[in-house]
Symmetry: C2
Subunit: 338 residues, 2 copies
DNA sequence: TTGTAGGCGTTATCAA
DNA sequence: TTGATAACGCCTACAA
């Protein structure tokens, strides 16, 4: 069916040279000038392309990297991938993208799939919880880079935002403006980013001598619905918070939905700080204050570390790359007069 | 470095059988029951996995599909991919995802990359314009499925929304509510979806005997900025439209930004119908009316058609799958009293 | 049912 | 600098 493209053998025949010589040329070896010309002509005429399969079989490398994320519908992750893919491509690597739909089982399954595909390396946003399947991959000496979340049990390069200080600074802006009852809509309790962000929330309270009311810390699922539901709960409290900090993009969307439905005036009745997605922040009215993660930098860093490991350069392993976030305070945050 | 996993040879040694027998077992052939047990034991003990490279070298198939989209930051496309990837995976195919960043040159380059990777099939959102490089791929008899956009010059399966009628119905809702000056923020003039959506816009005007004012048809780039700019221009017109139809998600975002900045009251001063992304539509206040494309169905259909072609089943080729959209009218659309 | 052997396209070693 | 040749791991006639 599919047309078989020309092989080294064909090029050899065309030029009258041997297979070995052509192979050497392809891999950057020295050949006589007149031979080089002939080879180049043959390659062009025959439209020769290296058969990566055969090459991989010999070299034991596929020049392929697996990327595994919780969801392809999450723009935070796809934006990262966009950068990763582009950088890896420049180095000849292709990227197999999988999402595991937030399911630990699927994560395991897809990880296995990637191993079967003999990827040379893996970039993964680990789900957390049981990580033995990841350890299994590590045991095979396949380079892995974690993104966004850390798994303490596994020695591994990791690239993530400074979540703790991101939350710290966001909440601090609220405290500075007089807020004392600050609600936080956090992620799932057992996820790394959640823990870090809650830690930051608590630490800044302590540093400013503001009492932490445990009832203002509520855990969601990082999805729209929980953002919506939790904000609703905050509203229904006897003494509702004067401001809310939402810790990811989807829940920020949900929170805004609830705010709109309840006709709550921002920032007069309630201040709001969201997470990620500048575009969103600009569209909402009043303009939304948000924590901005260095998305491009995360992807770039992860790709470069992986490339380094693929070159068998294990300098600084395991490296932890904690990138700084930025806080943009806009109209959704108001001041409390006491 | 990387641990070499067990080969058929190893399994053969372990079981005392021959390579051929093991191979037959793997590929579903018949072996004696006692041998089957031994083989299964060996596979488990040795953690044997088929080397896809070697297999591919023999069978001339990589069990890999390439997916090429304009941007990984566009949730419309990534959502489609999410479904595609999942379905293909169930059939043993892995998905190499590339974006071409809206550049025709990059599209060509990445398409070439995929061909070099010897993918068995390709799903692509074609950029349009020069399509000779796509024809080149087709000439190699690699199955291709187009998504979202049609390329008339190339015989190919294609899966897309019924863009014409989507626009028709959206604009019709405005006409029904008394609007006579309806602005359309269209995409780039030479893109397929743009043409179809503008066609629908014009046709519904004609069907309802409403005059088409050419100055109300403005072309953008399907990006946020042009949505913003064009809406701005509409506002500045001597006789601005009473309603706007925006033809993709990003431009809808941009339009809303402009509306917010100019303090235009929706729907009193202007009605608005956007495109895609239900989540967004719910968050904006007043709730946004939108055209909803059948994202899941698009991915599913494309994947299934490709799988069919990969099985060498060319029934109905080239098929055009035009899926129906849905229109959600919400608070952003008002009625004009005359 | 099982085994032998050749070949897929490439790389790499070793002579020439 | 070039060439002959043996792998890489698998599949597949064909023979036993």
């Amino acid at each position: 069916m599919r047309k078989i493209s020309a092989t080294i053998k064909d090029v050899a025949k065309y030029t009258g040279l041997s297979i070995a010589t052509i192979s050497k040329y392809i891999n950057g070896g020295n050949v006589l000038d007149k031979n080089r010309k002939k080879i180049e002509e043959a390659i062009k005429v025959l439209d020769f392309r290296v058969n990566e399969l055969a090459r991989g079989l010999k070299t034991n490398r596929t020049m392929t990297v697996g990327v595994l994320i919780p969801s392809l519908k999450n723009i935070f992750f796809t934006s990262i991938i966009s950068n990763v893919e582009n950088i890896l491509l420049k180095h000849g690597y292709s990227t197999i993208v999988c999402d595991y739909r937030e399911s630990s089982n699927l994560e395991k399954e897809k990880l296995n799939f990637l191993v079967n595909k003999m990827v040379d390396g893996i970039i993964v946003v680990p789900h957390g919880g049981d990580v033995s399947h990841i350890q299994d991959v590590r045991d095979k000496n396949i380079p892995i880079v974690f993104i966004d979340r850390m798994i303490k049990e596994i020695d591994c390069d990791v690239v993530l935002s400074d979540n703790l200080n991101a939350a710290y600074e966001a909440v601090e802006q609220l405290i500075i403006r007089g807020h004392r009852r600050i609600g936080i809509i956090a992620g799932p309790k057992d996820v790394y980013t959640t823990k870090e962000r809650v830690k930051g929330y608590i630490r800044v309270h302590e540093d400013h001598d503001v009492n932490v009311d445990e009832s203002l810390i509520k855990y969601g699922d990082y999805d729209i619905k929980s953002g919506y539901n939790i904000l609703q709960k905050f509203i229904e409290m006897d003494s509702p918070p004067t401001s809310i900090f939402v810790t990811n993009y989807e829940m920020t969307l949900g929170a805004i939905m609830a705010i709109n439905e309840n006709d709550i005036k921002i920032p007069d009745q309630m201040s709001l700080v969201g997470f990620d997605n500048i575009q969103m922040a600009k569209v909402v009215k009043p303009s939304l204050s948000i924590v901005v993660q260095p998305i491009e930098q995360i992807g770039e860093t992860a790709a470069n570390i992986l490339l380094k490991r693929l070159k068998n350069d294990y300098e600084g392993f395991p490296s932890t790359n904690r990138l700084k976030t930025e806080i943009m305070i806009k109209d959704s945050v108001g001041t409390i007069r006491s």
